[in-house]
């Protein structure tokens, strides 16, 4: 009876079941298309901008996006208003917490309140010592504008570093421009840098900082595992793996041990008059 009525209604004679299946297929197809669109959009938008840093203890980005429910409790418990929730259009996944080091850096609270506030584990409570946080890695990215690289004693990034002398050290090198001064180059050490961003925030340059905190994956190269570091192998094995090496004399450095190429502090004894010159400086002049 219903079949007859349906046939009468839509004229084509399609039975009700077929029409129902058609409808369901249409709705299901539409839903899947919509969801696929959302999924693709989410994949495209998942790339975190290099300036956006996650709070301490954040899981790896792909895991983080599955665990963070965008509730903002970490933002609320951040005593320095460092963290904020991304708004639509910020370039960071909507509703997820982040901070930008140049604007306001992480103060590295000892009790890590943001991690304790997270109800889902997107911020991992396994992080109990803030010095083990790895929010990013500082990189002295512009040696052309860094004042210390120009030979001045700015040192601000080094001074503000909460892990001073471990995460950032000043390395003394010769200044080849003046040829008589030293340069003290701020140098970041990845095994200690937490990525808090204090250095980037404090950099005295007027606009962009010369030192920037980048996501670790951007800041570091992949380790060349196939390259065996001889000095590490030697230390591990308690001696050289390839035995003693033949020592060939180097002209002008005959008195020095093999490998020591430092210039002698004592000037070479003056050669006897008439004798052929020895050493690196033959005394020849054009």
């Amino acid at each position: 009876m219903t079949d007859v009525m349906d046939k009468a209604k839509d004229g084509k004679g399609a039975p009700a079941r077929r029409r129902f299946l058609k409808e369901v297929a249409g709705v299901a197809g539409g839903a899947c298309l919509l969801a696929a669109g959302v999924g693709l959009y989410s994949r495209q938008a998942a790339a975190l901008p290099a300036t956006a840093l996650r709070p301490p203890g954040a899981l790896a980005e792909s895991d983080f996006l599955g665990a963070c429910v965008r509730c903002g409790l970490c933002v609320r418990d951040c005593p320095y208003d460092t963290l904020k929730l991304a708004e639509l259009g910020d370039g960071v996944v909507t509703g997820t917490p982040y901070f930008e080091a140049r604007k306001v850096a992480c103060e590295m609270c000892d009790d890590i309140p943001c991690v304790l506030a997270c109800p889902t584990g997107a911020l991992d409570r396994g992080l109990t010592d803030i010095e083990h946080a790895r929010m990013g890695l500082a990189v002295l990215i512009d040696q052309e504008t860094c004042l210390n690289f120009l030979g001045l004693r700015c040192d601000v990034c080094y001074r503000v570093c909460p892990v001073i002398d471990r995460a950032i050290t000043l390395e003394r090198v010769h200044n080849p421009r003046s040829d008589r001064h030293a340069m003290l180059l701020p140098t970041v050490h990845s095994e200690h840098c937490t990525g808090c961003g204090k250095c980037e925030a404090a950099c005295v340059l007027p606009g962009e900082a010369a030192i920037k905190v980048l996501p670790v994956r951007l800041a570091q190269g992949s380790r060349a595992e196939h390259y065996r570091r001889g000095w590490e192998e030697k230390e591990a094995a308690g001696g050289s793996l390839i035995g003693d090496q033949i020592e060939l004399p180097v002209r002008g450095m005959e008195d020095q041990p093999y490998g020591d190429t430092r210039l002698r502090t004592q000037p070479a004894p003056a050669p006897a008059p008439g004798a052929p010159p020895t050493g690196l400086d033959s005394g020849w002049k054009p």
């Binding site: 709705v27 792909s62 996006l65 599955g66 965008r70 509730c71 639509l88 109800p119 889902t120 584990g121």
Partner: protein, 306 residues
């Protein structure tokens, strides 16, 4: 009573009365005349108090520094002890392969238990901030007499819910939360909007111009999730006074899910007057606009007719 008598009883401002006279309907006017404006808007006002009150609790902290509730509807902490988490988000998290900390599980359990007991789509009518937007669109659509447009099949939301969970499983992330207007609006009000206004405005225009009750009634997978929790809802609307119905059709005009009314009101496919459909949001708007006091909000065990 003959059919002509009934037509005579239908007020001129009601949907059916206006249709007979070819004018714009003003549903609910009979109720206002019979009971007064306040009583004829009781449930609407209570609902607005609930929606805005919940929002105010969340805003007291950021605006006035009074921290009763921290967070947002996705997950919150009340008075520093009570965790509440949206089970729809937890479901997505589980689908993405994440097992959250016990705070979120406990909070999700409390919310889940509440809606399972009292009625899933209470969330839609009494809590969800988007409801204010779509109600406004529906009201304006009625006042302007806009007809037509095309609403997708109401089953779309259930398929979309399935697809949302599938996408979460495939991408390992809460993909829906990147576009979810419900959490976006609530979060935006509390934490800052960005371009989220555009999404909310889009829903308003969609409901106003394209699909009557389109978002909440046909598309929203979050509403679909809460509807699935509504099978055991304790609070239900009863058409207990259906004997008095004068077929003015006002309840159908204001109901966000009009298809749920007929079985109870017209005894179509059921004998009792309870609206047990999971899609009913228990908003009580039908109770308000009925000039004949046909409807009441009661429990699912109250099958009496008055």
């Amino acid at each position: 009573m003959t059919a002509d008598d009934r037509v005579g009883r239908v007020p001129a401002t009601s949907v059916r009365g206006a249709a007979l006279r070819g004018v714009l309907a003003r549903p609910g006017q009979e109720a206002v005349r019979n009971r007064g404006w306040l009583a004829a808007h009781k449930w609407l006002l209570l609902r607005r108090v609930s929606q805005l009150g919940i929002l105010a609790l969340f805003l007291l902290g950021p605006w006035l520094g009074i921290w009763i509730v921290k967070g947002n509807l996705s997950s919150s902490l009340t008075l520093g002890v009570l965790p509440l988490t949206d089970p729809f988000l937890l479901a997505q998290s589980f689908a993405a392969g994440v097992v959250p900390y016990k705070e979120a599980l406990l909070g999700g359990g409390i919310v889940l238990a509440f809606y399972l007991v009292f009625g899933g789509r209470l969330f839609c009518a009494w809590v969800c901030p988007i409801n204010l937007v779509t109600d406004a669109a529906a009201w304006l659509r009625r006042r302007l007499g806009l007809k037509g447009g095309k609403a997708p099949d109401a089953r779309l939301r259930y398929w979309l819910l399935a697809c949302v969970l599938a996408v979460a499983a495939l991408t390992g992330s809460l993909a829906w939360e990147w576009v979810n207007p419900v959490s976006m609006l609530h979060r935006g009000l509390i934490f800052g909007f960005g371009l989220a206004w555009g999404v909310v405005g889009g829903i308003f225009l969609y409901d106003l111009l394209i699909a009557s009750r389109g978002w909440c009634g046909h598309v929203c997978p979050m509403g679909a999730f809460y509807a699935l929790l509504g099978r055991t809802a304790l609070l239900r609307v009863s058409a207990g006074g259906r004997g008095k119905c004068n077929d003015c059709m006002d309840c159908f005009a204001v109901c966000p899910e009009p298809q749920v009314i007929r079985p109870a009101l017209k005894a179509a496919g059921q004998t009792h007057p309870l609206i047990l459909d999971r899609d009913c949001t228990t908003c009580g708007r039908c109770v308000d606009v009925c000039g004949q006091d046909v409807f009441r909000i009661t429990t699912r065990f109250d099958r009496s007719e008055s």
